[in-house]
Every structure is written in C-alpha cells, then in structure tokens.
C-alpha cells in the first residue's frame, strides 16, 4: 500500500512538474495561431525526453552519477566549460522567465502589476530552495501543478469540435495565412520547451538527492514513461483548448491572460481560479528546478559538494550559486523585459544547446565500466541515435529561424 502510494505520488509529481512557462507560452501561442497542426512536435519531444530521461535516470540510480558529472568526464574540461557557460546562462534566463510567470499569474489573480510581485516571488523561490525539504518541495508543486488538468476538463466540457482538432493534428500542414518559417520556428520552440536542458540536470541530480538505487529503477522508469507522457498531455490540452476557443475568435496570445482564457470562457470564475493556481505552481516549481539545477551543474563541473539535502555549511558553494542565480534572475525580470517574449527566445536557444548535453548521456549509458550489464540495448541505442540526429538538426535550425522570424512574429 505504502509502495503504491509512493508510486502514485511519484507519477503525479512528474506530471505536475513537467509543465513550465515554456510549455504554457508555446502551447498557448501555437494553439491560437496554428490550431492543432503542431501537436506532433510535442509528441516527438516527449518521446525524446522519455528516451534520454530514462538513460539519465538509470545512470543516476545504478552508478550514482549525474548528467553534468559525465559531461565533464566525457567532453573534457574545455568543451564541458562551454556547455557549463551555455547551460548556466540558459538556466538564469529560464529562471527569470519562470519568476516572471509566477508574478504574471499573481497579477491575473490580483490586478496588482506583476512588477510588484517579482521581488516577492524571487524571495519566495529562494526561501523554499533554502529551507523546504527536497521531497516535500517536489510534492507540493507537483501536486498543485496537476490543477492544470482543468484544461482537459475545459476541452471535455466545452463544445469542442473534436474531429476538426484531431484531423488537423494527424495531418500536419501549415495553416493558410501563416508562413512556413514561423510554423517551423514554433515546432522547434514547442520541442525546446519540452526538453529544456535543466530538466535532465534536475532529474538526475534529484534522483541522487532522493537516494535512488538499482532497486528504484522500476519506479524511475515508470515516472519517466507514465509521468512524462501524461505531463505532455497537459501541454497538448493547453494547445488544443487554445485552438478550440482562441483560434476561431481570432485572439492572439501575448500574455498568460490569453492562455488562461479558454478555461475562463468554458468554466467561468472557478475555472480561471484553478488555472491560475496551476500557472503559479508550474512556474514556481520550474523556478525552483532551474535555480537548483544551476547549483548542481556548477558544483558538478568543479567537483564541489552539492545537494539540497546537505546542510548549507556542508555545501556552501551550492548555496551561494542558488542565491546568486535567483538574485540575477529576479533582477532580469525587473528590467521589465517581457517574460513571454523572453520565453520564446529561451526555448529556441535551449533547442540549440541540447546536443552538447544529450550526447554524453548516450555515451555513458553505453559504458559497461559505469553501468555493468545495464547498458543500453539495441532499441534504446537506435532511438537514442535517431533523436540525437533530430536534436542536432533542430539545434542547427533553431538560431537561424529565431532571427529570420524575429522570435516568431
């Protein structure tokens, strides 16, 4: 019974923790502009994150090794430093966007300008990262994030044209009036939003914080397979709800308010309230994950002691990095940079930076010196290689498309 409870809790946490500002923004915009024609991008990205998440989880559970540890060992001091710098910069930008997302959600709920909520949100993120125990922290935002299921409820309760949505999703084509470039740009953004690098850093380091061992392998796999799959369904639901309500009404998405509109229209005040809780939980949780990930990768590159389960005196550098990135991230949002636009740029940059992180995972998941006979089988290697090619192609296309489309305008 206890085991079952822990399994359920783990999966629910994985579902709730999957969605962040990147998923909210990209799903909302693409739904309103391209209907469901980009659903495939979320599906492809989800399979990729499941394949690589499972490898990272297995390496963490069996060998007790994290992703960035293997990055430095396999890429060497120099290339790993390039990866560290890129990942840290992305982490800080993502953290800023997430804090902006928390503040924008609170603005939706309160009518008080988001800029006033920014310092409070930043302070709260640091407070939770500093004091709340790891498992409790993950469970709180994971479970609260499940309130985003309200988008599924809105789709079911509203007068949704299911056959239209499904046929547009199954026969992907650039809708009339939209350019091919923007369509592809948003395909890459959806995919970059699903597999942002901080997620694998957090996933593997978090596993070590929770003392995963070989015995937990089945649970780890279940979390990645079921949790990530259901999590991506939330992303799809947000896109489809936008396609169903915003698309026909010609509403263009420029802020979180419009992304919340479908649930508000269909389910009224209660729907909106639940949506805002979901937005806050998703962005707040992701803000914590990005802040902690910055600490993880920095300490793992330099070999310092790390961990939220450590006392600050035992891992002082980790505590310092957390504090610094949260202060810098908060300061960035306070420059009044638009968190939604920032998010679009970040997801494209994430797509460009991914291969440097995913390649070492694939190499280590094949190393018998590390994993014994738990190395990748032929199917996993085939999938891993196919996705590495896709990752690389998308990574190469991401920056040109970002500039050509002026971040999807």
């Amino acid at each position: 019974m206890r085991r079952l409870l822990s399994l359920t809790l783990g999966i629910m946490t994985a579902i709730g923790g999957f969605v962040d500002i990147g998923n909210l923004v990209t799903s909302g915009i693409t739904g309103s502009r391209f209907r469901t024609s980009l659903t495939w991008a979320i599906v492809v990205a989800t399979v990729a994150i499941i394949v690589y998440g499972e490898m990272a989880g297995r390496v963490a559970a069996i060998a007790g090794r994290t992703v960035f540890d293997t990055v430095r060992e396999r890429l060497g001091a120099r290339l790993a430093l390039v990866n560290l710098a890129a990942s840290l910069a992305l982490n800080v930008l993502t953290l800023a966007a997430e804090i902006g997302g928390v503040a924008l959600s609170l603005e939706l709920a309160s009518d008080v300008s988001y800029l006033l909520w920014v310092p409070l949100s930043g302070a709260l993120v640091w407070g939770v990262a500093w004091r709340v125990p790891f498992r409790r922290m993950e469970q709180i935002y994971g479970l609260l994030g499940l309130t985003l299921l309200v988008f599924v409820v809105a789709l079911v309760a509203g007068d949704t044209d299911w056959s239209g949505l499904v046929s547009a999703a199954l026969r992907p084509a650039v809708p009339a009036g939209q350019s091919d470039q923007t369509w592809w740009f948003y395909a890459i953004s959806l995919y970059g939003a699903c597999i942002v690098p901080y997620q694998v850093f957090f996933f593997s380091s978090g596993g070590i914080e929770e003392n995963w061992s070989t015995a937990d392998l089945a649970e780890v796999r279940l979390n990645t397979f079921v949790g990530f799959t259901l999590g991506s369904i939330l992303s799809i639901a947000i896109m489809w709800a936008a396609a169903s309500v915003l698309g026909p009404a010609q509403v263009s998405v420029n802020s979180l308010g419009e992304i919340a509109l479908p649930t508000a229209v269909t389910l009224g005040r209660i729907g909106l309230a639940v949506t805002i809780v979901g937005f806050v939980a998703a962005t707040f949780g992701a803000a914590l994950e990005t802040a902690l990930s910055a600490g993880y990768i920095m300490c793992q590159y330099f070999g310092w002691n790390w961990g939220k389960t450590m006392r600050p005196r035992q891992a002082p550098e980790f505590a310092l990095v957390n504090l610094v990135v949260i202060v810098v991230g908060t300061a960035l949002v306070l420059t009044t940079i638009d968190p939604v636009k920032l998010t679009l740029i970040i997801v494209a940059l994430s797509a460009a930076a991914l291969p440097l992180t995913y390649f070492p995972i694939l190499v280590v998941a094949n190393d018998r010196g590390v994993l014994g006979d738990r190395v990748n089988g032929p199917v996993r290697n085939l999938l891993g290689s196919v996705f590495l090619v896709i990752l690389t192609l998308a990574g190469l296309a991401a920056l040109p498309l970002l500039f050509l489309t002026k971040a999807g305008q």
Binding site: W304, R313, L323
Partner: protein, 148 residues
C-alpha cells in the same frame, strides 16, 4: 599537463591500451583527468584538474606525485585567452605564502576506479579548501539559518 604517459611502478594493462600485452602502458591522463575526487567519508572534494609528475630522487622515469586542483591547474587545460585569464584570477586570489597550485599528494589516494578517486583522509585535512571555507564563513554563515 604531462606530455608522455608514465609507466606506473607496477604496470597493468589499461582500458585504453592500444599496445600488446608484452608492453603494458597506462594512460594516466585518460584515466585520471576530470575525474571526481571523493574523500574518505564519501563527500565530493574536487575534480582532477591536472597531475604533477616529478623525477624520483634516485633518478629514473618521473613518478606521479600529486593531483592538482584549483583554477591555476584548470586554466592551462582550458587554454587560450580564457585559460590565461582563469590562471591569473586564481593567482590573484592565492595568498602570497602559497607558491604552487593546491595539490593532493598521491599517497593520500586510496583507490582509483574508472569514475572516481577515493582518498584515505577526510576533506578538511586537505590544503585545498580555501574557497569553500571563505564562502562558508563570509557568505553562508551570514545568511539567516546559514549555520544550521
């Protein structure tokens, strides 16, 4: 950076060995660089940034004497202008009394595996904690709840 891999005192065939079994050689750089160093209690200490080799007193081929840590050891491996800058920063922060990069004598290494080096002493017995100690005392202890 050692230019040539040194034959260890008791040669054993290594994983990356390309030669025949008659002539076993361990590539120390391949085996040790960028590996995690763990202390006797299992706590992470640092990464192997570089290695120190010295000719033994009685002559003969150089022996592996110490593991080098800290920015002055990492900089040359990064190379270029950034590497030089890295070294300069490391030097600037080093007390005048210390001449060389922080080093862990190789005698203190108890076990070497493919992924890590395990030491026979706890981390606070090592002369490589200046930055950690500084962060702990000057920053972390001053935060509310930082001493817990």
């Amino acid at each position: 950076m050692p230019e040539t891999p040194t034959p260890p005192t008791e040669p054993t065939p290594g994983k990356h060995d390309t030669r025949t079994w008659d002539e076993p050689v361990l590539d120390v750089a391949q085996l040790l660089l960028d590996r995690q160093i763990i202390d006797v209690e299992g706590l992470p200490v640092a990464k192997v940034n570089d290695l120190e080799l010295a000719p033994p007193a009685g002559g003969g081929p150089p022996l592996l004497t110490a593991i080098l840590c800290g920015p002055t050891a990492l900089g040359p491996r990064i190379g270029g202008r950034l590497g030089a800058w890295w070294v300069a920063v490391g030097r600037r922060f080093r007390p005048v009394s210390e001449v060389a990069a922080p080093a862990i004598p190789f005698d203190l290494v108890a076990k070497v595996s493919t992924t890590e080096l395990r030491l026979s002493v706890p981390v606070d017995h090592l002369p490589i904690n200046r930055f950690t100690d500084w962060v702990r005392e000057k920053i972390v202890f001053r935060l509310p709840g930082g001493r817990r």
